[in-house]
């Protein structure tokens, strides 16, 4: 301080002068800041290494908690890729009113085949329908016992679009349009199974999302609790740090990095789990799917998804640590 030892009392001027010199914050220097962070990063990692068993257990709990939604996500991704490629020629079957004349039905058939989104229209007369029905059902005697043919004229409309999950809604629109024709009694799109699959998939998606949120919260709590215990076990250190003038940020930092490491390592092992698991099931899964569809290749966690998984888990780790440390550090006060 600039004051001389023999100066007595604080004058108004000296108060003014010293007030401006009061170092309430040290000047910011990027290199110092970076160095401190780097040191803390390695030190907090070494601290985990020094307590291997406790660290491994925490990391593994996090990894398992994360690999569950991760694995389900991969499963869902594969189901989606299978169904996306699952094309089938689509057919809209039109049952015409029974009292309709053949000529009217034929006119409708010509009109429809001229439509842009229709590839072809197959005309099935009442007689053809009856023959087909007798052949496939084996009810020949019953049919021949009927006084007249009860079957309507049927038009099989083949749309230009094949049916799959992406085209389903436009095909449904086409079916509705055809059903609205005055000659048509009832129109059926042969894709109910696909509709059901789409519903199941969207249900599965929501299920995975909900599960992910729950398990991410679980990871938050695991990290929070581990960090809380770490702070508690280093109580003396925190006290001494405060005594020699450590800021709250400085005291908080090693714990945040600890949370970061827990997150990153947990995310890393979760990714590893998923990769190993998908490799393990890939051979039987591919054989199974090959029965229905050739050239199927099981999809697993790709690089983007691994990076995403690590980012999320690192963020969750730091956030969990932040909550725990902030709640705790202010309660540890010098006495």
């Amino acid at each position: 301080m600039a004051q001389k030892p023999n100066q007595r009392g604080a004058t108004r001027e000296s108060i003014k002068a010293t007030k401006h010199n009061w170092p309430t914050r040290t000047s910011f220097s990027p290199s110092k800041y970076f160095r401190q962070h780097q040191t803390t990063l390695t030190e907090s990692f070494m601290r985990l290494v020094n307590y291997p068993l406790a660290s491994i257990m925490t990391v593994m709990v996090i990894a398992i908690a994360l690999s569950l939604p991760g694995g389900l996500y991969v499963l869902l991704k594969n189901v989606q890729s299978v169904t996306d490629q699952w094309e089938q020629q689509s057919v809209i079957t039109l049952y015409l009113f029974p009292n309709l004349e053949d000529t009217q039905a034929l006119a409708l058939s010509h009109r429809l085949s001229a439509q842009a989104d229709v590839a072809s229209v197959e005309y099935i007369s009442k007689e053809e329908g009856l023959r087909y029905f007798e052949r496939s059902s084996g009810y020949e005697q019953i049919m021949s016992a009927l006084p007249e043919n009860p079957l309507p004229i049927v038009l099989r409309v083949i749309p230009k679009q094949a049916v799959d999950i992406t085209t389903l809604s436009s095909l449904q629109a086409l079916r509705d349009q055809l059903a609205a024709q005055k000659e048509v009694d009832y129109a059926e799109l042969d894709a109910q199974w696909l509709q059901r699959l789409a519903n199941i998939l969207s249900f599965g998606q929501r299920f995975v999302y909900a599960l992910s949120v729950l398990l991410v919260v679980a990871v938050l709590l695991i990290v929070g609790n581990t960090i809380r215990m770490a702070v508690e076990s280093r109580r003396d250190e925190v006290l001494v740090m405060k005594l020699v003038g450590a800021t709250d940020a400085y005291i908080r930092r090693p714990f945040l990095y600890m949370g970061f490491w827990f997150g990153v390592l947990g995310g890393f092992f979760a990714s590893l789990c998923i990769l190993v698991l998908s490799w393990w099931v890939s051979a039987p899964a591919e054989r199974l799917i090959d029965l229905y569809q050739s050239g199927f290749q099981l999809q697993t966690f790709n690089a983007d998804e691994i990076v995403l998984c690590l980012t999320i888990s690192a963020f969750v780790g730091v956030f969990g640590a932040w909550i725990a440390v902030n709640r705790h550090i202010t309660t540890i006060e010098l006495q």
Partner: protein, 223 residues
């Protein structure tokens, strides 16, 4: 560092009055002792200076600045200018003597070369340069206390506070420790030592402040 207490009182929430109407003025570069029975308020007074606790009445001016005007964020920066030595030396037992002494420097973000230089200088001053790699547990009581002193002065504080620094040391070691404080005072550090060892205090021939039940009953004399 210059300290001025103006009718300072500290009343705990329990109603116990630890300090009342305490006034004194410690000049920059002065050395003084603070005596009194246990429970007279010596520790409370030191805690107020460290901003571990806050007074409930009166003013404390440090270099002319009222401590009440400092925010919570400013407290760490205030503490960096003050070195403290406690009876229970508060060393961290999971790291070396070197690291213990380096703590105030690490906390304020000094660069590593500076840290090594200043830690060794501080250890040299207290005569423990050859023990820097030891764990504090491996040292004797007197040596541990000296590590605490090295930690208190490594940051070149302007004020050195010691709360019963010779509490459980034998007379010869106590005298050595007191001489150390005197040496720091000689280079311009303001020093305040709380001690109930009246004989030792009397021998040192410095200003003596005496507390009795929270009141300043004697200021001056040689005890």
């Amino acid at each position: 560092m210059e300290i001025e207490f103006q009718r300072v009182g500290k009343k705990y929430e329990s109603g116990q009055e630890a300090l009342s109407q305490v006034s004194f003025h410690l000049q920059q570069g002065e050395m003084a002792f603070l005596t009194g029975h246990s429970g007279a308020g010596k520790s409370t007074l030191m805690k107020l200076m460290m901003m571990i606790e806050r007074q409930t009445s009166g003013q404390i001016l440090v270099d002319g600045v009222d401590l009440r005007t400092l925010s919570r964020r400013a407290i760490p920066h205030h503490r960096r200018r003050v070195g403290v030595v406690f009876q229970n030396h508060q060393l961290l037992l999971d790291r070396s003597v070197f690291h213990n002494v380096a703590l105030p420097l690490l906390v304020s973000g000094a660069d590593p070369q500076q840290i090594a230089k200043r830690v060794r200088a501080a250890l040299d001053k207290v005569g423990l340069l050859d023990k820097e790699k030891y764990n504090p547990m491996a040292l004797s009581g007197g040596e541990q206390q000296r590590v605490g002193i090295a930690r208190a002065v490594v940051n070149k504080p302007q004020l050195l506070l010691a709360d019963e620094p010779t509490g459980n040391l034998d007379p010869k070691l106590s005298a050595e420790i007191m001489n150390l404080f005197q040496e720091f005072n000689r280079v311009g550090v303001t020093v305040l030592v709380a001690s109930h060892d009246l004989a030792l205090v009397a021998r040192m021939r410095h200003r003596v402040l005496t507390l009795n039940q929270g009141r300043m009953v004697n200021d001056g004399g040689f005890g």
